[in-house]
C-alpha cells in the first residue's frame, strides 16, 4: 500500500532551486535510501515530505492526504522525522527525551499509556537498561538508537532519517541499520533515509533514489541504480560494483 506519494515537487531556497520536479512513491514496510553528493537535496527532500519546507510546485501526499492539509499534531502521529543533528539539552535522561516524542498525543501531561509506549519502544531498540542514563553520557551508537526510539514512540507509519549512521563506527552502523530494517519489516513502517555509504544503501534498502543538484538521476532497485556509470555521473568518482556481494567500492 502506498503511504508516501511525492508528486512533482520543486523546492526553492530564495532563488536557489534545491529540488526539481521530483516524483516517487513509497510503500508501507519499504526501506528507501536517498543517495547523492552533499548539497544534492537529500535533506530538503526529507524536510519537504515532513512539511517543514513547502514545495513551490507539486505536492506530497501522506496516506492519501496532502501534507499541508494535515493539522501539525496529526501529521506528527503519522510521520517521524529524525534530523541530522539534535540539540541535546543537558540534564535530560533517556526516559525524558524519548517521552517528548509522545507530545502529539499529550495535551497537558504525559499519561501512563505514553510511559508504557516509551518502555515498549526502548525494549524494542534494546535500550531498556539506558532508561535513567543522561543523554550526554551515551555512546554514539546508543544515542542514535535513542533518537530513533524517540521518533518511534509516536507510532509513525513513515520514518524519515537524515544520515542515521553518520559519526558511528562500523559496528554501530550495522546495528542501527539492522534495527531500521527490522522496524520496516515487523512494524510495517515505511522508511526513507538519506545515507552516504553506498554499500549500506545497497544492502539495506528495497529502493534507491539517486539525486544530483535536486534532480532524480536514477530511481529503482539497488542493482539497477547503483551502477558504475550512475555513480560516476553523480559523484564524479570511479566505483566497482559487485552485485553478488552487494558492495560498492570507490576507487582511489
Amino acid at each position: 500500500m502506498t503511504i508516501v506519494k511525492v508528486a512533482g515537487i520543486s523546492v526553492y531556497y530564495e532563488n536557489h532551486r534545491a529540488l526539481n520536479n521530483v516524483f516517487f512513491e513509497v510503500l508501507l514496510g519499504e526501506v528507501v535510501s536517498v543517495v547523492g553528493p552533499n548539497g544534492s537535496g537529500k535533506t530538503t527532500l526529507l524536510k519537504t515530505i515532513d512539511g517543514i519546507l513547502s514545495p513551490l510546485k507539486g505536492s506530497v501526499y501522506i496516506d492519501g492526504k496532502e501534507v499541508h492539509k494535515y493539522v501539525r499534531r496529526e501529521l506528527a502521529k503519522i510521520v517521524g522525522y529524525v534530523p541530522q543533528r539534535i540539540d541535546l539539552a543537558a540534564y535530560l535522561t533517556v526516559l525524558d527525551f524519548v517521552l517528548t516524542g509522545r507530545r502529539p498525543y499529550a495535551l497537558f501531561n504525559y499519561s501512563k499509556k505514553d510511559l508504557d509506549k516509551v518502555m515498549e519502544v526502548l525494549k524494542l531498540v534494546k535500550a531498556e537498561d539506558l532508561t535513567h542514563r543522561r543523554l550526554d553520557n551515551l555512546s554514539g551508537g546508543e544515542l542514535q538508537r535513542i533518537i530513533i526510539a524517540r521518533a518511534l514512540v509516536a507510532e509513525p507509519k513513515v520514518l524519515l532519517l537524515d544520515e542515521p549512521t553518520a559519526n558511528l563506527d562500523p559496528k554501530y552502523q550495522l546495528e542501527v541499520l539492522k534495527l531500521i530494517r527490522g522496524l520496516a519489516k515487523e512494524k510495517r513502517v515505511a522508511v526513507i533515509m538519506a545515507i552516504h555509504d553506498l554499500t549500506h544503501a545497497y544492502r539495506f534498502s528495497e529502493k534507491i533514489i539517486m539525486l544530483k543538484n535536486g534532480n532524480i538521476v536514477a530511481l529503482g532497485r539497488p542493482e539497477d541504480v547503483l551502477t558504475a556509470e550512475n555513480i560516476e555521473k553523480v559523484f564524479e568518482v570511479k566505483a566497482v560494483v559487485d552485485n553478488k556481494l552487494k558492495t560498492v567500492v570507490i576507487e582511489p
Binding site: 535522561t93 525524558d96 517521552l99 507530545r103 502529539p104 543522561r134
Partner: protein, 347 residues
Amino acid sequence: MSKASHKTIFSTRLSIIIFLSIALLLLIPITSSFGQYNITFIDVLKLILGYPLGGDELIVIWLRLRRILVGIIVGALLGGAGAVAQATFRNPLASPFTLGISQAAALGIAVALIIGYGGAISQWFLVFAKPYVLPIAAFLLAFTQAILVLLLAYRAGLSPYALVLSSLALSFVYQAILALLQYLVLNELQIATVVFWMFGDLGRAGNTELFILFLGSIPITLAYMIMHLDLDLLTLGDEVAYSSGINPKKSRFITTVIAALGSSLATSFVGVLAFLCLVAPHVARALVGGSHRYLLPASMLIGSILLLLSDTVARIVLTPRVLPVGIVLSFLGAPLLIIMLIRGAKQ
C-alpha cells in the same frame, strides 16, 4: 528494566520537590525570628496559629512575615521565569533579563521621577498615584520592552539568536536614554533613587504590593506549568519541535511573554534581582534533571528559598543596617554557580 523503573525516577524527583516545599515552609518561622527586634520562633508560630499577641510584637512579626511572603512570591516568579527563559532561548546563560527588562524598568523609574516628583504635572500625579507611580512605570516599560523585542525578533524569524540580538540593541537604547536623563534632567536625589531601586530590595513592598504580587503570581505560575511540554521540545531545537507537532515560533512567543510578565511583575515591586533567574534553574536542574515538568516547580522553590536566605542574611549581617537583598544574593549565588561549574567540569 521493568516498568517500576520509570516510577522510581519520577518519585525521586517528586520527593525532592516535596522536600524543597517542606524546607521552604520551615524557613518561614525560622527566618522571621532573625532580626534586630528580638522575636522567637515560638512567637511567630503563635501568630500563624492565631494566638493573641501584644501590639508591638504583632507589628514587627507582620512586617517580617510580609517581607518573607514577598520574598517567596518574587523568588518563585523569578526562578520560574529563569527556567522558562533558558529553554526559550536554548541557552543556560539566558534569563528574562536578557530581554533588557532591567534597563527598561530603570528608565521607567527615571521617567516616573521626572513627571511624578517635581514636574509641572506632579500635583495630580502625587495625589492620585504616588505609592504606585514607580512600580507601575517600571512594569509598563519592562513589559513594553519585552513586547518590542518580540516584534523586532519576529521580523527576523523569532529564533533565539534574533531574540538576543534585538534585546541587546534595544537595551542599549534604554541605557543611552537613561544616561542622558541622568546627565541632563535628574537631580542627585533622583539619580540616587534610580540607583537604589536597581539594587533590588524586598523591604519596599507593602500590604497592597504583597496582595498584587500574590494575585499576579497565580495565573503566571499556571502559565509556566501549562507550557512545560513545549519547553522540553524547544530545548531540542526548532526542527524537532516542529516535527513533534508544535509550532516553535508560536510557543517561543508565548513562553517569552510569560517569562517577561513574571519577571516584570517581580521587578516592578522589588527592583532588579536578575541573578536569581540564572542561579535557581541551574541548582534545580542539578537536583531534578532537565524535564520541565519537575524543573519548573523545583526552580520556583529554589528561587524562593535562595531569596529568603539571602534576605535574612541581608537583615542581620550589618545590624542595625539592612542591606539590599540583591547584593547579598550575588555574594551567595556566585559561589554556588562556581561550585556547580567546577563539579560539572569534573564529571
